[in-house]
């Protein structure tokens, strides 16, 4: 095998054992997906057809898998700010220029706005462009910002930080909104323009033409039972074909994840980094209510190396409502970190508690958000489709705003698609239209400039002084130099690679919830109104059922039981014998996508459940 004279005895032994290893492992590579999915000791968890294809499943023999097909000009996946802005702009242009255009929007929530969650303090710039008369039309922007406060918290005190004009988090001219209500209002405007809206139907599959371009999407099948077999009520989803498909699934969309791989869209950008945002809405004592006040804090309970902070906005919509929440960067290293518990204990800080005392919590929810900014923007267009909104990730992290840029991206997508569709001399190489002009136009717009100017602020928090180093960096390079420095700092890498093994970290002792200010997880999940049809395959699919116990639990002490804001993942003792198993309570899922992002084994693949399931947020 190896010329004996060339290697020392040690080296030869090494090479021989390596070769032996290769031989031992190569047979299993061929059947990795089927055989290693569950060993004899691991109970079967996953039954979804994306892991166990139905073509090979005897229970599906003879079942009619044909799908109803319909054609539209443009299909939009996701009825959030970006998707709806794209649909509205398309119809506005169509009616201005007397053209007929069929625009269909599919949305997994049962009603539009039910899966929308954000702070939110928005810049009305994009809305102003879309509807210059938004005030007359009754857009729910009722609370202009009157007061901006920023503080650094220590365990007992608060150090105020002045918000000077020019700093990214200065909110002059902005509005505090309940984004779910704004999205419902956008949906009403879209319906008036004759956009076809289909809430309750999730896009489950991307369809491709023979030439590899995107043909459209297929909605989810219904009537599959928990073990993966067809029920009497089984019906195939339908196919919606389009010349261009706009993907606006929000942060870490599941179809976008497939598209990145398929078209290699992330070749030249850094991996996206994320944070999880948890939010509650409270009715507070009128005496504590300051409508229009925006408060942000950093510091306690997080240490300087964990990015994150809180927000507390006083709404002005009749009742004394506040929207408050906590954001934790998902690049945290300690697997014992529990973002939900950090949020609950932050509420007990002496400067936060008085606002909430005597109040009543009326809503809870959570969602992942993008932190990668400029460095993590992928290629946005591919044959047959393009990406808008938080899906590729246009959020301005230090400003904590992404709605305005998401809406603008949707509008630009619409404008470029429209000019392409109405171009009579159009010649396309592929059946699905390619719209590279969208990316070019975006690069020349204020969205790009804005993201470029703040690109170094988030990565500057990775230094020795953590978040405080980031604040100093912001002061010097953004406030004074407006982000024109010639270098671009890098992120740390994938969030899922950042966890340290549990044995190298100290468990965090969280205080027990008191039931008045802080609450336990399950009562919070109940407030989100989340529910799913019980008898369906769990939509939190595992590529390999034995990895959670063997890897996540063994090395990292099961971080998914701590970072999930809905209590979906639980490690419970097996019924007979020793050991633990992973229990997935898929019904609790609030569709935040944190598990798909932070799983250190990247074994969890979130796929869309039956449409209509998920949280029932009202004005979150």
């Amino acid at each position: 095998m190896f010329p004996a004279c060339k290697y020392t005895l040690q080296a030869r032994r090494c090479l021989c054992s390596l070769a032996a290893l290769q031989r031992a492992h190569s047979p299993s590579l061929f059947c990795a997906t089927r055989w290693s999915s569950s060993s004899s000791t691991t109970p079967r968890i996953t039954s979804h057809y994306t892991v166990y294809p139905r073509e090979k499943d005897p229970r599906w023999e003879g079942v009619d898998m044909e799908r109803f097909v319909d054609e539209a000009d443009v299909v939009v996946v996701g009825a959030g700010p970006a998707g709806l802005s794209a649909a509205i702009r398309l119809k506005q242009l169509a009616s201005e220029q007397g053209k007929e255009l069929r625009v269909c929007v599919v949305e997994k929530a049962s009603q539009i706005g039910a899966h929308t969650l954000s702070g939110a303090c928005i810049e009305p710039s994009a809305l102003q462009e879309l509807f210059p008369d938004w005030k007359e039309r009754g857009a729910p922007l009722h609370t202009p910002v009157t007061e901006d406060r920023f503080g650094i918290l220590t365990e007992k005190y608060r150090i105020p930080v002045p918000i000077l004009p020019g700093l990214p988090m200065n909110n002059h001219g902005n509005y505090i909104v309940r984004l779910g209500h704004l999205v419902s209002w956008l949906a009403e405007q879209a319906e008036e323009l004759e956009v076809e809206l289909y809430p309750g139907y999730a896009a489950a599959e991307v369809l491709f033409h023979e030439d590899g371009s995107v043909k459209g999407i297929a909605t989810n099948d219904v009537g599959i039972s928990k073990d993966g077999s067809p029920k009497d009520t089984f019906e195939r989803g339908m196919e919606l074909h389009a010349k261009v498909t706009v993907f606006g699934e929000g942060c870490h969309g599941h179809l976008a994840k497939q598209l990145y791989k398929h078209f290699n869209l992330r070749q030249h950008c850094e991996p996206q980094t994320y944070a999880i945002g948890l939010k509650e809405v409270w009715v507070i004592d009128e005496k504590k209510w300051r409508p229009g006040r925006v408060e942000h804090t950093v510091g306690w309970p997080l240490d300087r190396h964990s990015y994150g902070g809180s927000f507390l906005y006083h709404l002005n919509e009749g009742e004394p409502l506040v929207a408050l929440g906590f954001v934790v960067g998902l690049d945290y290293q300690n697997p014992y970190m529990n973002p939900f518990s950090e949020f609950q204990r932050w509420k007990h800080h002496p400067t936060v508690l008085p606002t909430l005392e005597g109040g009543k919590r009326i809503a809870y929810g959570a969602r992942a958000l993008n932190e990668g900014g400029f460095q993590s923007l992928p290629k946005l267009t591919f044959p047959g489709g393009l990406l808008v909104g938080c899906s590729p990730g246009f959020m301005n992290v230090p400003k904590i705003k992404g709605t305005h840029s998401a809406m603008k991206s949707g509008m630009m997508a619409a404008e470029t698609i429209f000019s392409k569709l109405t171009n009579e001399n159009l010649q396309s190489e592929t059946e699905g239209l390619c719209v590279p002009e969208y990316e070019e136009n975006l690069k020349n717009s204020w969205v790009w400039k804005e993201l470029y100017s703040v690109r170094n602020i988030r990565p500057s928090c990775h230094g020795l002084f953590g978040v405080y180093g980031g604040m100093v960096y912001t002061g010097i390079f953004y406030w004074i130099l407006r982000g024109k420095e010639p270098w671009t700092l890098k992120h740390k890498g994938l969030d899922s690679d950042q966890l340290k093994p549990a044995k190298d970290c100290t468990p965090i002792e969280y205080p027990k919830p008191d039931g008045k200010i802080s609450f336990d997880l399950l009562s919070s999940v109940a407030l989100s109104g989340t529910n799913h049809e019980h008898d369906q395959p769990p939509h939190l699919t595992l590529k390999n059922d034995s990895i959670p116990v063997n890897n996540n639990l063994a090395i990292y002490d099961g971080p998914e039981q701590r970072f999930c804001p809905a209590g979906v993942y639980e490690y419970v003792p097996v019924e007979t014998g020793d050991g633990m198993r992973l229990q997935i309570n898929a019904q609790n899922c609030v569709h935040c996508k944190t598990c798909d992002i932070k799983d250190p084994s990247q074994n969890i693949n979130w796929v869309v459940p039956e449409g209509g399931g998920g949280p029932a947020y009202n004005g979150m």
Partner: protein, 254 residues
Amino acid sequence: MAGRVLVGVKRVIDYAVKIRVKPDKTGVVTDGVKHSMNPFCEIAVEEAVRLREKKLMKEVIAVSCGPQQCQETIRTALAMGADRGIHVEVSGKDYENLGPLQVSKIMAALAKKEEASLVIVGKQAIDGDCNQTGQMTAALLDWPQGTFASEVSVDGDGLKVEREIDGGLESVRIKMPAVVTADLRLNEPRYATLPNIMKAKKKKIASVKPADLGVELTSRLEILAVEDPPQRQSGVKVESVQDLVTKLRDSGTL
């Protein structure tokens, strides 16, 4: 034998949503809250559509009483297989006071107008939990009723209904025209799939006002207040029987 089936559907707050009482205690918050078709109404629609598919009935008409948003609920019924819909427009104060008596008067009037042979409704709505509309409708029409149905089959010129009662199951035979109220185990409703929703957009939904049917909506009930149920007090564990007796004496129970 094929006749018309009239199915009543109600738009209610979704069963998984946490209810919040309005600060002025006049009711619960409904603005922006997720609504869906009452689960028992879904079962009623499914049963009506199955009867039509078996050619035992020739037409299924879905009816809902309420504001504009009820049209969505009727659309869902149409997507499940109903042939046409009737929206009885009731809004504002009238809608807040709409109760089983008013709805049953409307259903009775419609049943006569549409010459229905069968009226199927859910046994109760999950918001009111009244369990009265079906029964009152039958009384106003002077028709027989098969309530809490867990199985319905055509038997000659009548219906055989298996009823779920406290002691078990009861079998009744009722002549048509009749009123049936659907219980949980009657069937498993089909999904309203997207192609059917798209087709349902082309089906007709007629709008009528209660006055057109000669129904007067004034309610004889006045809601005084709506409040949260009292907070459940935590229990206390006692160590011995003596302790238990002392505690019961102290609380005045013994």
